[in-house]
C-alpha cells in the first residue's frame, strides 16, 4: 500500500505487485496484489473459493503449486525477497522465517511419527538451538505455548491418538517452533467444532501478539476474520478489491462486493436478512480487462469495464483502500430485515412426529430418546456439533439409516425403518437434500434425468415428467436449459439447486436438509437459504434443517432444537432461544460461535 503513514520499521511481510500465472497459458490467477503485515498483526485474507487467496498464502512461502508460476512482484520478509531465492535457499527459509499451517491437520501430520519427533524434526532441520537439550526444551516450551502438555506421554503419541483440535495445535506448534517472522494460516479451523475453533483462534491471536509474529490468515469465513484479524483484505477474481482495518471493512464496506459479502453473512441475534447473489466470479483466463465484479454489479458503468480501477484511499485517519469507481455507491444491503419468525401461518397440524427415537451403530447408541414434532409449514433447525447425533437422526427419518427404535410418524402413518420398506408415496413425500452437492448427483447423468427419477418412480409418464422437470428448474432459478447439462459443468451452488429441485419435484410434505450450505461460499449460501425460505413458504413444506452453523438458523427456522451427545437439550422458538438460551450447553455454543461484532461507524 502506497500511502502507508505508519513507520515501516515494524513491517514483517510486504508483498508488492505480486502476479501469479497458470504456467501453461499465462492466464493470471492473482495480479496486482499489495499486502503489508506488521509484527504481531493478523491480516485476514478473505475471498470465495477460486479467488486466489490460497495461491497468495503459498506464494508467501515462495511456493507455487504444480502448473502455477510466480510471474512477478516481490514477497519481502524482513530484508529478503523470497521471489529471488533458489530452491535450496527457500528450503532454509521455510519453517524458520516463514511457516505454514494447513487446512486439514489430519493429513498434514505424518501419521507414522510421534508428536515429539515431529516437532523435533522442524528444529533439527533448521539447526535451532545449540544442542539437543535446548531443542528438547524448545519442544516442551512450544507445546505449552499452544496449550498442549509437554509431558513425555504426550510427546510419545501418534497423530491419530489426538483429537482434531489437538492435531491442529500440534500443527501450530510446528509452525511456531523456530519462532518465524511470518506465519501463513490456510483455513486452519475449517474442520473443527465451534468451541475448539474458538480456542484455536484465541491461541493464534495470543501467539502472534506475544511473539511479534505477522500472521496471514486465509479464510472464507467473515465471522472468524471479524473476531481475529486486525486488518482485512478482500479478494475477488484474483485481485485485492478492498483492504483496511477490520473495523473499517465491517462498519463501512466500500466495495460493492464487500457489501454483498457482509450482507450475506448470517447474523446471530439481530433480525437482518441474509442477502445472496447469483452468478460466479470469472475464472483465470476468462477475466475481463476491467473490474471483474462489474459482471455482477448493479452499479457497473462503462468506466468499470474499460479498465481495472486504481487504488483509492477512502480512509479518514487510517488507510482504507478500495479499487472501485463507485465506492460506497452501493446501497447498504444489511438493512433488510427478516420477516418475523411467525411469518408462516402455523397450521397446528403435525407433519412429522418423532417419538422416543434411539439410534446408533452396531449396538452403540448415538441418539438417545429423542422426541419432537414438526408442524406443517414449519422449519425446525437441528443444531449440534459433530458427533452430536444430528446426522444419524436425520438419516433415520429419511430412511437411510436402519438401526433405530422408537416411532417416527409422517402424516399420521408410522414410518418403516428402511426407505426400501416404505410405500412409494411415503418415500416420495419425505425428501432429503445432502450436504455435499459434489457427491449427491450422478456424475454421468444429465441433471434433468436426475430430477426426473422421483417422477418415474411415482409412475408419471415421461412427457409430463419433462414438463414438470422444466418447471422445477425454473423454480430453483436455473432455467430449463440447464436440464441437459452434466453435474461437472455446474458450480457448487448450481448443483445444490439441482439437488433441491430433485427433492421437491415429487411434491413432498417433508424436506430434510442436511448441512446443505456447508460446502458453499457465503454469497451462494445466502442465495440457497433465500431459495429454501421461499420454497418452504410457497409450498407449505415441513422442513428439518440440520446444521452446525448457528447464525444460519436465524434466517430460516421458526424453531431450533439443540442437540448434544445424542439428546435434544433445548427446543424452542428460534429468536427466543438464540437471545435467551436456557441450557448451559446452548449458552456455551452461542458464546463460542464467532459472529461479526457491531463495529461503530467512526
Amino acid at each position: 500500500m502506497s500511502g502507508t503513514m505508519q513507520s515501516r520499521e515494524n513491517v514483517a511481510l510486504e508483498i508488492r505487485g505480486l502476479r501469479i500465472d497458470v504456467a501453461e497459458s499465462g492466464a493470471d490467477i492473482v495480479d496486482e496484489v499489495d499486502l503489508t503485515i506488521r509484527r504481531g498483526e493478523v491480516l485476514g485474507l478473505v475471498g470465495e473459493s477460486g479467488s486466489g487467496k490460497t495461491t497468495i498464502g503459498l506464494a508467501v512461502l515462495g511456493h507455487a503449486r504444480r502448473g502455477v508460476a510466480i510471474h512477478g512482484g516481490t514477497v519481502r520478509i524482513g530484508d529478503r525477497d523470497l521471489n529471488g531465492l533458489d530452491a535450496k535457499e527457500l528450503r532454509s527459509v521455510r519453517g524458520k522465517l516463514v511457516s505454514y499451517v494447513p487446512q486439514d491437520p489430519g493429513t498434514a501430520l505424518n501419521p507414522a511419527l510421534r508428536i515429539g519427533k515431529q516437532i523435533m524434526e522442524v528444529l533439527e532441520t533448521h539447526g535451532f538451538g545449540a544442542n539437543q537439550a535446548e531443542r528438547e526444551a524448545r519442544v516442551v516450551e512450544v507445546l505449552s505455548e499452544v496449550m498442549l502438555p509437554g509431558v513425555p506421554e504426550f510427546l510419545r503419541r501418534y497423530p491419530h491418538q489426538l483429537s482434531g483440535g489437538q492435531q491442529q495445535r500440534v500443527g501450530l506448534a510446528m509452525a511456531f517452533a523456530c519462532r518465524p517472522a511470518v506465519i501463513v494460516l490456510d483455513e486452519p479451523t475449517t474442520g473443527l467444532d465451534v468451541s475448539t475453533q474458538t480456542h484455536v483462534l484465541q491461541t493464534i491471536r495470543d501467539l502472534a501478539a506475544r511473539h511479534g509474529v505477522a500472521a496471514l490468515y486465509v479464510t472464507h469465513d467473515l465471522a472468524v476474520v471479524a473476531t481475529l484479524a486486525d486488518q482485512v483484505a478482500v479478494m475477488y477474481a484474483g485481485r485485492v478489491v478492498e483492504q483496511g482495518s477490520t473495523a473499517d471493512i465491517f462498519a463501512n464496506p466500500a466495495h460493492p462486493y464487500t457489501r454483498y459479502l457482509v450482507a450475506a453473512a448470517p447474523e446471530m441475534d439481530g433480525d437482518r436478512q441474509m442477502v445472496g447473489l447469483v452468478g460466479r466470479a470469472p475464472s483465470p483466463g476468462k477475466r475481463p480487462v476491467g473490474c471483474a465484479f462489474a459482471l455482477r454489479c448493479e452499479l457497473a458503468t462503462e468506466e468499470c469495464v474499460a479498465e481495472f480501477p486504481a487504488v483509492t484511499d477512502v480512509g479518514t485517519d487510517r488507510p482504507h483502500q478500495v479499487r472501485c469507481v463507485h465506492a460506497f455507491g452501493v446501497p447498504d444491503r444489511t438493512a433488510l430485515r427478516v420477516a418475523s419468525t411467525a411469518r408462516v401461518a402455523r397450521e397446528s397440524e403435525v407433519a412429522l412426529s418423532i417419538r422416543h427415537v434411539d439410534a446408533g451403530y452396531s449396538g452403540t447408541n448415538v441418539v438417545h430418546d429423542v422426541s419432537f414434532d414438526i408442524q406443517r409449514g414449519e422449519c425446525v433447525a437441528l443444531v449440534g456439533e459433530s458427533g452430536s447425533g444430528k446426522s444419524t437422526l436425520s438419516r433415520s427419518i429419511g430412511g437411510l439409516h436402519r438401526e433405530w427404535t422408537g416411532e417416527i410418524v409422517l402424516d399420521g402413518t408410522p414410518l418403516e425403518k428402511s426407505s426400501r420398506n416404505r410405500p412409494v408415496a411415503q418415500r416420495l413425500s419425505i425428501q432429503y437434500v445432502f450436504q455435499n452437492p459434489y457427491s449427491s448427483l450422478h456424475p454421468r447423468r444429465p441433471v434433468a434425468e436426475s430430477i426426473a427419477r422421483p417422477l418415474a418412480i411415482a409412475g408419471v409418464d415421461a412427457r409430463e415428467a419433462a414438463i414438470e422437470v422444466d418447471r422445477m428448474l425454473e423454480r430453483v432459478s436455473l432455467g430449463s436449459a440447464y436440464g441437459s447439462r452434466y453435474p461437472d459443468q455446474l458450480s457448487g451452488g448450481e448443483r445444490q439447486r439441482v439437488a433441491i429441485a430433485r427433492a421437491l419435484v415429487s411434491k413432498p410434505h417433508m424436506l430434510i436438509c442436511d448441512e446443505v450450505t456447508s460446502a458453499l461460499d457465503v454469497l451462494v449460501q445466502a442465495a440457497i437459504i433465500e431459495l429454501l425460505v421461499d420454497l418452504q413458504r410457497d409450498l407449505g413444506l415441513a422442513m428439518l434443517f440440520v446444521t452446525h452453523n448457528l447464525p444460519l438458523v436465524r434466517s430460516i427456522a421458526q424453531r431450533v432444537a439443540v442437540m448434544s451427545d445424542g439428546k435434544i437439550v433445548e427446543l424452542g422458538d428460534t429468536a427466543q432461544t438464540l437471545r435467551h438460551p436456557q441450557e448451559e450447553y446452548t449458552k456455551r455454543l452461542l458464546a463460542d460461535t464467532p459472529v461479526i461484532p457491531t463495529f461503530s461507524n467512526d
Binding site: 473459493s49 418415500r427 432429503y432 445432502f434 457427491s439 456424475p443 427419477r453 418412480i457
Partner: protein, 284 residues
C-alpha cells in the same frame, strides 16, 4: 455452455497415441484372423512341398514340419486363439464385475462370502489348474474357455469391488436409496457407469493375459485337435526347425506378441486416462 456429454474414459483415451497404436495392432491381427482363411492359398493341412524348407515354389515363407504352407496355416490359425481369448475374458469379466459390484454394494456377510470365495480361486495357479483339467478331461474348447474365464473372474471381481466401494459411499447412492430404487437398478445404473474406467483397464489387461495363456496352452500341446492350425501350437510344432525354416515359429510368435502388445497398449492408454480424468471436483 455446451451441454455435451463429458467425454467418457474410452473416448478420452483415444486421444493418446498409445491407445491408437494398440487399436491398430489389434485390428490388424483380428483382420488377419477373420479374413485369413479366405485368402489363404492352401488349406491348413494341405501338403505344399518338402517339409521344413525355407524356399518352396508356390509358398511365400516355406513349409512346416509336415510340409504344409506356413503362411496358409498362419492365416487359418488366428481365429481359435482370438475367439477363445475374447469369450473367456468376456465371461470372466461379466461374472467378475457382477460379483464385485454386488459385494461392494451389499457389504456385510454376502461381501465376505463372495470375496473369500474369490480369494480361494485366486490361490490356484491359473496354468496349473488348466493343465490338470485338460489332462483329465481332454483339450476341449469349452473347457479351455471355462478355465480361463474362471481364473479371470476373481481378479476382475477384486478390482471391481475396490473401485465400487468409494462410489457406494457417495451421496447420490443414498439419494437413490431414499427414492427406493431397486438394488438391481442401483447396481447397473448408478454404480456401474461410475466404475467403467478401472473396469476397462482391467478387461484389457485380462484379455492380454488370456491370449498369452491360451497361446501357452496351445504351445504345451493342448490345442483343441491334433494338427489344428493354431498359433500357439504352430510355435511348438516348428520350434525344432527354427534354424532351417524359421518362419513356421516366428510368424505365429510375432502375431501373438503383437496382439498382446496391442491389447496391452490399449490397457495402458485407458489406465492413463482414468488416472487423469478428474471428475466431481469444482472447476477442476
Amino acid at each position: 455452455m455446451s451441454a455435451e456429454k463429458p467425454a467418457g474414459v474410452w473416448r478420452s483415451s483415444l486421444r493418446l497415441w498409445r491407445t491408437r497404436i494398440g487399436i491398430a495392432l489389434v485390428l490388424l491381427l483380428v483382420g488377419v484372423a477373420i479374413v485369413g482363411p479366405w485368402v489363404a492359398k492352401f488349406s491348413p493341412s494341405e501338403f505344399a512341398g518338402t517339409p521344413n524348407t525355407r524356399h518352396v515354389p508356390g509358398t511365400w515363407l516355406g513349409t512346416d514340419y509336415l510340409g504344409q504352407d506356413v503362411v496358409s496355416r498362419f492365416l487359418h490359425g488366428g481365429r481359435s486363439i482370438l475367439w477363445m481369448a475374447s469369450v473367456s475374458t468376456l465371461l470372466g469379466f461379466v461374472f467378475g464385475a457382477a460379483i464385485g459390484l454386488v459385494a461392494a454394494y451389499n457389504r456385510g456377510r454376502l461381501d465376505d462370502v463372495l470375496m473369500r470365495g474369490m480369494d480361494i480361486l485366486l490361490a490356484f495357479p491359473q496354468l496349473l489348474l488348466a493343465l490338470v483339467a485338460l489332462t483329465t478331461i481332454g483339450p476341449e474348447p469349452w473347457l479351455i474357455i471355462t478355465i480361463v474365464a474362471f481364473t479371470t473372474m476373481p481378479r476382475i471381481a477384486r478390482i471391481t469391488r475396490g473401485a465400487t466401494v468409494p462410489v457406494v459411499e457417495r451421496d447420490f447412492i443414498g439419494a437413490a436409496e431414499a427414492l427406493g430404487e431397486s438394488r438391481f437398478r442401483i447396481i447397473t445404473k448408478e454404480l456401474l457407469p461410475n466404475v467403467t474406467g478401472p473396469l476397462l483397464v482391467e478387461a484389457n489387461l485380462r484379455l492380454t493375459y488370456s491370449i498369452a495363456t491360451i497361446a501357452g496352452l496351445g504351445f504345451l500341446g493342448f490345442a483343441t485337435e491334433v494338427n489344428a492350425a493354431d498359433w500357439g501350437q504352430m510355435v511348438q510344432e516348428n520350434r525344432t526347425a527354427l534354424t532351417v525354416a524359421p518362419w513356421g515359429t516366428l510368424l505365429p510368435a510375432f502375431a501373438i506378441a503383437l496382439l498382446t502388445v496391442g491389447t496391452g497398449l490399449i490397457a495402458d492408454g485407458v489406465s492413463r486416462t482414468v488416472a487423469g480424468v478428474d471428475r466431481g471436483r469444482p472447476d477442476a
